[in-house]
Symmetry: C2
Subunit: 517 residues, 2 copies
């Protein structure tokens, strides 16, 4: 029996061999960055591999047979970020060492909601949080944080702690009959004032100021928390938050505010001017909270060349990082950090079966109050192993390699007669589009629609051919369809990138020619 | 270089060997269900293994060295659910086949928020959801669902969809100038009425009725969504929701309501009378939503012997399951299911870089609208492999084995002069406490406090000795400290369980004797 409870080493060894062989076989089946044929064909192939009859049959096929067949199917049916022509999203090719570390976690199945489910795992997460806090520029002895499912959860936590804190501060200010600037990065207020009785403060209508290029999860998180007023702040031509626009927005909203800045926008990789934003937020006359969504750009902290672009990040009240982007972890490896305990009372809970007070006092640390989840796998472990294995220099070199690839892509695009760069390269994202010969300056609705369709068709054609995964989004004042390369594969070469862009252009030429009468 | 982008098979093969050897070495280091010495000693050992200097050094130690050392540390420092004496929580010993399947996911790093990050993974999740819907008793062709991080997220989603739907229905009723019973399990209303404009409906003060034995995440989720009124419903002596109490609560709250029933309470494994509750909710005169938290008890559906205890589950408006409990998956493997599309409009979003409308129309399915997350690992894959590998019969046999162990434990406790059973066995949880010889009937605050301390001390002593992980919670009208066995290891034997209970009793005897003057 390959059941649990046995020392699983032998079973697991055999089954891992099956997995690795199926990964190899599936890659050979695919022979490109993604399966060819388009979504209907891929769906049918997946269903065929899942087998006839119900997915949960009365009697099973046995471990090796099911594992081998389904792993081969998943591999053949994947858009593999380890292929240089798979460059559409911020899902990275993960490091083998992180994948192997995560296997240990799967095998041991610890959970961070109580000490007795993760005696060592608890300390590992605390240490990973401290290391990342130091990287961000927070004092690691005071910083608090958690490993999350990603930027979406981290942004939600930023809004949650921020709205709780600013709401509480506003209540305290009103109680004192005055409204003055809060102490920025102040120590937490008296705990008695921040207790559960005041939780209603977090549901107040605190407006959220975020650039129009911020991630959609900011709006979604605000809606979830009932912070219905999300105020979009304009961006400059490089998709960075416009500081003058923020100043004006802050002047219009002179009560408590949350400001969300972005370090690495999803579409352009742009980094908002964090230091200037922090200054503005600090001088706001009412309680405020600055959350920085550095899910994409936080990886630049590993790089000596690029870390300076995040100057001001250490002035944030909370920060989101994602090490499953520029950190080469298998998802999820999100991180949420704050410089102090401020705001965390919102999540505190004493639950009889998890963290009774006397056990907490006795040192059985429960991380229940660090997360919106209860059961929580220590995704921190793969991060810890990666950090010890590679060190900052190798991680920084990987970031630099991706940045180099993006710079190369930008030059190729700038030199190409039918490719048009839409934003400067900041990190490893390249935003551009194909503009066929003979196109005007892009004015006119009809021409815009034609260009939109053409660029959308380039991407679909490449997907359906199984030839490349190129990203798509909208950009510019007219929300025109653009293409995007997210270059997260440091093992890709400049030649790979040149070839990918040549393929994009040739596909555009072909589709444009087909469209001729 | 063991970096990403290479065909990782060879690197990964080597590193997996390192992982397996370190798992073996760490288990030998531990030589028990958890590390001995108590939290301070475990913390120091973990810090020592993380190495001197910063966790993120300038230059790393190399993959094999870091992976081997840290995996050995994590293993030695784990409370291993594969050990029969580790029986405190609902984290299970995972199946080797599920662990191996999850490795494939880590390697390929797909994400379900857009088709082009998970072409096959998208279909896998849809098929797993359909299979689980069928297991629950929903029509799999109409059911909708998602794989979640666990019961906490699933419960939040139930509250979110439920409050949105009941709020919307109440708004529609008022608009029509009447308030009648809704059609239970009705088809979704006209989409135009459920659009985004009405989202504010979800923030309404819909009360949440949930038994006092329900999971803490219900209250936490309600607070997050601003549904501040959580009405506790009394339980009977077996910790099941009292139907008369629910009837009275529904009579007091004659507007829109959410009712959360529990199939498998955390502390006693009790299953609320689902069919009777569903009848009551159905006859409520205002819009209502019944969410069933079957995170623990849902596993009984695999068992012919126990599935009948969940009769009525198919009448729910939403259901939470956790296959990282009685499903032997490595966490996370939560599931959220609904019988129809009703409520899901709350999560719909069209995002330019993920799911532009024309691509969705063309069949590039994005599961973005199925989740509160954006990046989302297909945890469905390990479930799919497990289902195909084991079939329902083997999974059912595992559930029955755990149930047998719990019944055995209950008999041992009932026959023991100093152990006292606190609830009947329903699933695989055994709630009990140690009562020393010469104790009265448990009345009197002083005696109650002494018993509480004694039972808490038994657990701590066993933890600090590295001898056993026994659960702890409060139970009964006086919230007395009790001990708990959660028997999720089907490879454990009745002899193991007898020995564990004998150890608990002997530890109680020893501590009671030490307390004598």
């Amino acid at each position: 029996m390959t059941g649990p409870g046995h020392q699983p080493a032998d079973d697991l060894r055999t089954l891992l061999r099956v997995t690795l062989e199926a990964l190899d076989a599936g890659r050979r089946d695919r022979s490109g960055p993604l399966p060819a044929g388009g979504p209907a064909a891929v769906r049918q192939a997946t269903l065929d591999a899942l087998g006839p009859g119900p997915l949960l049959p009365r009697t099973g096929d046995g471990e090796a047979a099911a594992l081998g067949a389904l792993t081969r199917m998943l591999t053949a049916g994947s858009a593999d970020p380890a292929d240089p022509f798979c460059a559409a999203h911020l899902h990275c090719p993960p490091l083998a060492v992180a994948v192997a570390a995560d296997l240990a976690v799967s095998t041991l199945n610890p959970s961070l909601d109580s000490w007795d489910q993760a005696p060592a795992g608890t300390t590992v997460e605390l240490e990973v949080v401290a290391a990342l806090a130091e990287l961000v520029g927070f004092d690691p002895t005071h910083a608090v944080g958690t490993v999350t499912t990603g930027g979406t959860e981290s942004n939600l936590m930023g809004l949650l702690l921020g709205s709780h804190t600013t709401g509480q501060a506003a209540i305290r200010s009103r109680a004192r009959g005055r409204s003055g600037p809060r102490a920025h990065h102040g120590r937490p207020g008296p705990r008695a004032q921040l207790g559960r009785a005041g939780r209603g403060g977090s549901a107040g209508p605190v407006p959220v100021l975020c650039s129009a290029a911020g991630h959609h999860s900011v709006r979604r998180g605000a809606e979830l928390l009932g912070l219905t007023k999300v105020v979009p702040v304009a961006v400059d031509a490089a998709y960075r938050m416009d500081v003058q626009a923020l100043r004006a927005a802050l002047a219009r909203h002179d009560g408590p505010v949350l400001v969300v800045a972005t370090a690495g926008t999803t579409d352009a990789g742009a980094i908002d001017p964090l230091a200037e934003i922090a200054d503005l937020v600090r001088s706001h006359p009412a309680p405020s909270w600055l959350h920085v969504d550095a899910a994409h750009g936080g990886g630049a902290l590993f790089s000596r060349r690029l870390a300076g672009r995040l100057t001001g990040l250490d002035q944030a009240d909370s920060v989101a990082l994602d090490l499953h982007k520029l950190g080469w972890q298998p998802a999820p490896a999100g991180v949420f950090l704050t410089p102090s305990r401020r705001g965390w009372s919102r999540l505190e809970a004493e639950i009889a079966y998890l963290n009774p007070a006397d056990e907490t006092t006795a040192g059985y640390t429960s991380l229940l109050g660090r997360s919106l989840r209860t059961t929580r796998r220590p995704d921190a472990f793969k991060i810890a192993v990666t950090f010890r294995a590679l060190g900052r220099e190798r991680l920084g070199a990987m970031v630099d390699a991706c940045h180099d690839l993006a710079e190369h892509a930008a030059h190729v695009i700038a030199d190409h007669p039918r490719l048009e760069l839409a934003a400067p390269v900041t990190l490893s994202t390249v935003l551009f589009r194909y503009v066929p010969a003979g196109t005007g300056t892009g004015t006119g609705t009809e021409e815009g629609t034609r260009l939109d369709r053409l660029n959308a068709a380039i991407r679909s054609r490449l997907l359906d051919d199984g030839a490349a995964v190129v990203g798509r989004t909208t950009a510019g004042p007219e929300a025109a369809v653009h293409l995007k390369l997210t270059l997260l594969n440091p093992a890709a070469t400049a030649a790979d990138v040149s070839a990918l862009l040549a393929l994009v252009a040739a596909t555009g030429d072909r589709i444009a020619a087909e469209a001729q009468p």
